[in-house]
Amino acid sequence: MLIIKDLESGYGKVNVLKKINIEVPKNKVVTLIGANGAGKTTTLRTITGMIKLTSGHITLNGKSIDNFPSYKVACLGLAHSPEGRRVFPSLTVFDNLQLGAFPRLTGSRPRGDFKGDIDRAMELFPKLKERRNQLAGTLSGGEQQMLAMARAIMLNPDIILLDEPSMGLAPILVEEVFKIIARLKAAGTTMLLVEQFAVGALNIADYAYVLENGRISMHGPASKLKNDPAIKAAYLGGH
């Protein structure tokens, strides 16, 4: 579905990513773990064109999306739930969800069953239903994360990139977020999950990549990496 080959990119003159290769097959959940500053978010931002790639290739469904602007990538069916949630604070929950489906409503993607999808999203995230007409800026952190994920789903995407969905959430909410990811996985959604909370990510993913200083230092089936002593020491420390 999504293939990243020899990708290099970064801010200014410094390349943060150095020739990384990642592959996300259809209907699978792939996770990218690593410390802050390793380049996880940079990878996702490069995929959706917020950062220019300096070399390498990204293909989505066999089509090159190198340096495509964000909106074009979205119209091709890739949803990205960004780090820090980034909901639209001065719009209502409903408006946020509607904008999630912007390409569908403006003819860039098939419209599908928009009303039904709204209802399904509300079902998946019951808290949003209560707050349908509330401004997104007034939601709590956990609710905003739910909204961000629901908004991504509203695109009817082929693949979802989730950037640090657990960041800054209380352990109890982290659990809930991972439960939802599990439900999405069960429904066959293709996902690339970036996480710092490595235990949770490795538990849920099919395959995992470890990013260290802009390089893929290790990759393999998640179940295998989970038991790797080096990974345990570096990322699974206290948990």
Binding site: A35, N36, G37, T138, S140, G141, G142, G168, L169, A170, P171, I172, L173, V174, E175, Q196, A233, A234, Y235, G237, G238, H239
Partner: protein, 644 residues
């Protein structure tokens, strides 16, 4: 330093000999005006280059200086040597007046406030006929100094001397703690406040100093032109000043001089179509050749250089097409601004620097040696053990923080004992960061009391609170990015200085002593967190983990009794976290009390003496780490079943 000094001396000698070789007063006068503009630009650069504000009001301040001189001369017959200092003082007062509203706002608002200010000054000059003679203007004669009537050439030397003096003074100011504070408030106003460097105060300083130079330039200008009238000090002049600054290059005195030279010669150049054709052709040639060189060295692409090349070649073609240049003056002027803003962002000086480095070498110039002195790394931190603070260092009583309908903190009581590490945990949005912001004066609580060291801090500004002994780090690192590691810490050491502006300008012994002491201690603090090797590295080039450590070192520079650490372990790898724990313990050993916000339970549990748990703005539990981990309320709200 020596080379710079020699260059300055050579420049002054050449310029002072200039009128002897070139006796045409037209050119003497032109260089004189360049020097006068340079003085203003030195000052404007403090505001634009260092504190990063766009001021559109400097023409007004320039006018204040000119009119102070004009009025004193015309109405009272005050002599030149007395007029100059008065003009500077009056302009400083106006600068302070301008700073008051400008302080409250940021970005385009500041540009507009300063523009409005400049417009009001112009209107006042125009309307207050009883004082300023209104649109008629004032005619001034060249000054008489000690009974000697100066002529153009003498006045030229006076201006040269004053501008050289201004150059030295401004250099000293910008190299000192003042310059550092100006840059710090540009990079991160919040961190600046929390380091005890009041953004408010230093913005006022910046505007006042800047206004002083503008006033000095204005008064010299009045005598130089021998005629002043209101419609000189208009918006276009401000734009011209800004063009000079960006074209010459920000944060460099040489840039200011080059910028001044360009804007002065520009109207002459644009008045003569033949000369303009020559210059446009030369410019096109330089840009084309430079681009070709860059492309051949693979340092740029055809696409990147296309716009400047097309622009300058187009300008050349245009210059041959038109018959009457004066009709198109303003377009060319605007076109130059566009070109400079986007293709010469670092100005001519910056561009030449970069070009030089890219073509001839890529090595950075040698680092300044730091005289490290005899500071041991542990001595750099001043122990808080002997402080007279009460045992209950911090005491919060029913604190309420309300944003609109949202209660971010709701009836929070909290006591932090001296010398302890107090953990603070809770879900995101539970009010932890809000609490820190209340403690550092960024938010003023809606109600409740906050006592630190026995006195209330409610309503005090951040800088005051910081100086009373509360230091902090930030959830999202807030360093002064364009400053080096050691300079970052020296901003934190701002409170150790007692010398004033006067002492800085004259480089008096006390100031020198203080500067050396601060540098040595800053180095010691860097050593404490293990960053001494990176002392001269710009903060933005440090890795994330190192930035966090630098932030802690900077906080320690404040000699705090209480240190607030906001998620210091976020984003650190396991080995980094171990190092961090060690540092936290060492800080505690110095008797400094710590409030630690963290999501990493192992960090909180390992070092905390007491842990408080917040949820929805309320404190739901408090106790020893062990107790907290087993508290059912905490497990339900925060920890969840999975962690034990």
């Amino acid at each position: 330093m020596r080379f710079k000094f020699l260059a300055l001396a050579a420049g002054i000698i050449i310029l002072s000999l200039f009128p002897i070789f070139q006796t045409n007063t037209y050119y003497i006068h032109m260089v004189e005006r360049i020097l006068i503009y340079s003085i203003l630009l030195f000052g404007l650069d403090i505001v634009v280059g260092y504190t990063g504000q766009v001021s559109l009001g400097h023409a007004g301040l320039f006018g204040v200086g000119a009119y102070t001189a004009g009025i004193l001369y015309f109405k009272l017959g005050v002599p030149f040597l007395i007029i100059l200092p008065i003009a500077v003082i009056v302009s400083c007062l106006f600068g302070a007046l301008l700073a008051l509203p400008a302080l409250k706002v940021v970005g385009p608002y500041i540009a507009m406030v300063t523009l409005a200010f400049g417009t009001i000054i112009q209107i006042l000059i125009n309307e207050m006929t009883f004082l300023t003679e209104g649109p008629l203007g004032i005619i001034i004669k060249k000054p008489i100094i000690f009974g000697f009537q100066t002529k153009e050439i003498h006045y030229y030397w006076i201006v040269l001397a004053i501008s050289a003096l201004s150059l030295v003074v401004i250099n000293r100011i910008l190299k000192s703690r003042l310059g550092r504070s100006f840059e710090a408030l540009r990079d991160s106003p919040v961190a600046c406040d929390c380091m005890g460097v009041s953004v408010y105060k230093y913005k006022v300083y910046a505007f006042i100093i800047s206004a002083g130079f503008a006033g000095l330039a204005g008064s010299l200008y009045a005598y130089s032109e021998q005629y002043i009238s209101p419609n000189t000090y208009v918006f276009e002049l401000t734009v011209l000043f800004l063009l000079a600054i960006i074209m010459g290059g920000r944060k460099t005195r040489l840039g200011a001089i080059i910028g001044a030279a360009i804007v002065i010669t520009l109207p002459q150049l644009l008045g003569d179509v033949k000369l303009f054709r020559i210059v446009a052709t030369a410019l096109a040639f330089v840009v084309v050749a430079g681009s070709a060189l860059l492309i051949s060295k693979k340092m740029s692409t055809v696409r990147k250089v296309a716009v400047p090349v097309i622009g300058t070649v187009g300008l050349m073609a245009f210059s041959y097409l038109i018959k009457n240049i004066s009709d198109w003056r303003l377009s060319i002027f605007g076109f130059m601004i566009l070109l400079v803003v986007y293709y010469l962002q670092d100005g001519i000086v910056g561009f030449v620097n970069n070009f030089y480095m890219r073509i001839f070498s890529s090595k950075k110039s040698a680092r300044d040696q730091i005289d490290v002195g005899n500071f041991d790394k542990d001595d750099a931190i001043i122990s808080a053990k002997n402080s007279s603070a009460p045992d209950q260092l911090l005491n919060l009583k029913s604190v309420l923080m309300q944003f609109g309908g949202l209660k971010a903190l709701h009836d929070v009581d909290l006591i932090v004992k001296k010398g302890t590490i107090h953990g603070l945990i809770g879900p995101n949005g539970s009010g932890k960061s809000t609490l820190i912001n209340v403690l550092t004066g960024i938010y003023v609580p809606t109600s409740g009391t906050v006592e630190f060291s026995g006195s209330s801090i409610v309503g005090k500004v951040s800088a005051k609170i910081a100086l009373s002994g509360i230091a902090r780090t930030f959830q999202n690192v807030q360093l002064f990015n364009e400053m080096t590691a050691i300079e970052n810490i020296m901003v934190g050491l701002n409170h150790t200085y007692k010398s004033n502006l006067f002492e800085i300008a004259l480089n008096l012994p006390r100031f020198k002593r203080e500067e050396l002491a601060a540098k040595q201690r800053a180095y010691g603090l860097l050593k404490f967190v293990g960053l001494e090797e990176l002392a001269n590295e710009e903060a933005r080039n440090l890795t994330y983990g190192k930035q966090r450590l630098l932030e802690i070192a900077r906080a320690l520079a404040l000699d705090p009794n209480l240190l607030l650490l906001d998620e210091p372990a976020a984003g650190l790898t396991a080995p980094d976290i171990k190092e961090l724990l060690l540092i936290i313990k060492k800080i505690k050993d110095k008797g400094i009390t710590i409030i630690l916000i963290e999501h990493h339970m192992e960090v909180v549990m390992a070092v905390s003496d007491v842990v408080s748990v917040l949820d929805f703005g309320q404190k739901i539990a408090e106790g020893k780490p062990k107790e907290i981990q087993n508290n059912p309320k905490v497990i339900e709200a925060y920890l969840g079943a999975q962690t034990t």
